[in-house]
């Protein structure tokens, strides 16, 4: 039995992106959830399964049920970091297909920018890494970038071009947090934080929330907006701590992407638009390679000189990504919302004409968890 096309996203919304003064993380989450239900034309009381994962609240699924005033049949609180929401969609599809639930709400929110000004996390350093005081999580990604540069000759300029492309997309998105011009030279001149990564290689620290609502495909057209079908999904978990990652140049996206594309019956060349969790510039290069958009070691050349910018050979992170649009700590939900907007044709100046197939990809931990979703329109079903 395959989950291909069995469930669809029928509602999606963002809330509190940028700065949400005076709001708690759960309040932003509820606002996003309410927006997604309104978008779907579904009453709150119809929700019978919920999923969330929040930075500081270990029991956030329970808090969500409480604050929504619901007594759901299923409460999912799977914590895999920023990839969690792309895993929640797979569990949602299973619940729907087995008719254990009829309406699944997946949502997230964080006030980390206005509350703390930095990444909020409940995580401490691993026992065998703490004595060396790596920056969490930045130094882990810096080590991966250093290794990629050593092994494949990936350049400082190529890393910078990932950030430049994200900013160029953000300039087309009125909801993006930073829309000032950004050049390769600006990135390379920005402050070093953990070599080789500089400030402009790092995602933003913003507030924000996102939510989606999923239903069975058979009723997915009974809603105001065109349904976005879940065509494939897969996961890969390779480690928890960067010192335990077997090869810093190969992520679990190789496994998750292959599983997702096999289920969907598509190949990388079929994908019209790509949303990747770009916590750091190196992530995009690694994931493009591991997902099969280019060969291992050639990700740098792939992104160079506007390769993934507007007008390039593959549109990646059309909202501006975590680097320039929004990054409230666990970005995965935003890859889904932007994919939905592109597939509905709602993306305004950044719309990819005729987009029928989208790939959304989440990263959790320190390149530890990788989860891929393939989404498509009615035409792609």
């Amino acid at each position: 039995m395959s989950l291909r096309g069995k469930a669809a996203i029928v509602g999606a919304a963002l809330a509190g992106c940028g700065e949400a003064h005076g709001k708690s993380s759960m309040e932003i989450t509820i606002e996003a959830a309410y927006g997604a239900l309104a978008d779907a034309g579904i009453a709150l009381g119809e929700v019978d399964a919920i999923a969330t994962c929040q930075p500081l609240d270990m029991l956030s699924g329970l808090t969500l049920a409480q604050e929504l005033g619901l007594n759901p049949k299923f409460t999912m609180n799977n914590r895999m970091g920023g990839s969690s929401f792309l895993s929640h969609t797979l569990w949602a599809a299973m619940l729907l297909e087995l008719r254990l639930a009829d309406t699944v709400l997946i949502c997230y929110g964080s006030n980390q920018r206005t509350a703390s000004g930095k990444l909020m996390t409940a995580l401490g350093l691993p026992t065998y890494e703490a004595p060396y005081k790596p920056m969490f999580p930045l130094s882990s990604y810096a080590l991966a970038a250093d290794r990629h540069m050593t092994q494949f000759g990936t350049t400082r300029e190529q890393l910078a071009d990932v950030a430049v492309a994200a900013r160029a997309w953000a300039q087309k998105n009125p909801e993006a947090f930073i829309r000032d011009p950004l050049t390769r030279e600006d990135v390379i001149a920005s402050r070093l934080v953990s070599d080789p990564l500089r400030v402009r290689d790092c995602c933003l620290v913003t507030d924000g929330g996102g939510a989606i609502v999923m239903r069975r495909a058979e009723t997915a057209k009974d809603h105001p907006k065109p349904p976005v079908y879940l065509l494939g999904g897969g996961e890969g978990t390779t480690h928890r701590d960067i010192s335990e990652m077997a090869d810093l140049t190969v992520t679990g996206a190789a496994q998750s992407g292959a599983a997702a594309m096999t289920m969907a019956g598509v190949k990388p060349a079929d994908i019209d638009v790509v949303q990747l969790y770009d916590a750091f510039t190196i992530n995009v290069i690694l994931f493009l390679e591991d997902l099969g958009f280019c060969k291992k070691g050639e990700g740098g050349a792939f992104v160079e000189n506007g390769g993934i910018a507007p007008g390039g050979h593959l549109p990646v992170n059309t909202n501006g990504g975590g680097l320039s649009c929004v990054h409230p700590g666990m970005y995965g939900i935003f890859t889904l919302v932007e994919a939905v907007r592109q597939l509905r044709g709602e993306a305004g100046d950044r719309q990819i004409a005729g987009a029928e197939l989208a790939l959304a990809h989440g990263n959790g931990g320190v390149l530890s968890s990788q989860v891929t979703n393939i989404l498509g329109t009615d035409t792609a079903l």
Binding site: P131, Y132, S139, L143, D146, T150, S194, D241
Partner: protein, 140 residues
């Protein structure tokens, strides 16, 4: 993965203290040891309850050669008044296991992947005993 059938392996699991505490106690005495699997012979770091290669709980302790190679390096940038820059590395020991550490006795910028290093007992960020490295042949 091995099927767990041997009573001796269950006994290995139940006997305390756990490998984290054993490693820490050895390190506090100035001894750096890693585990070796009695099932498949694989060397293991960090310390674990079961072998990640074959699943055996029959793990013993050995003294590694201390020789290793830098796999990747970053430099954490800190203002001088906050202690200044320091390096964080991943080192592959000759036994085939990887660990996070720091290389002392060499400029941060001169540490590159492929650098041969030797283990020593030094201090971690809070003054605790920690395995650190120095360039092979260099003085600490």
């Amino acid at each position: 993965m091995a099927v767990i059938t041997l009573d001796s392996e269950m006994t290995d699991l139940k006997n305390g203290p756990g490998p984290d505490a054993v490693f820490a106690a050895k390190l506090a005495e100035g001894v750096f040891e890693i585990q070796k699997c009695g099932g498949c012979g694989a060397y293991i770091f960090h310390p674990r309850v079961i072998c990640p290669t074959c699943g055996s709980a029959n793990l013993g302790w050995i003294t590694p050669t201390g020789h290793g190679t830098v796999y990747a390096r970053t430099i954490v940038r800190r203002k001088p008044e906050r202690g200044g820059d320091y390096n964080v590395v991943l080192v592959d020991l000759d036994e085939g296991v990887r660990m996070m550490s720091r290389v002392d006795g060499i400029a941060n910028e001169e540490i590159v992947a492929g650098l041969k290093v030797t283990a020593a007992i030094g201090e971690g960020a809070d003054g605790e005993p920690a395995v650190v490295f120095r360039p092979e042949g260099g003085a600490l």
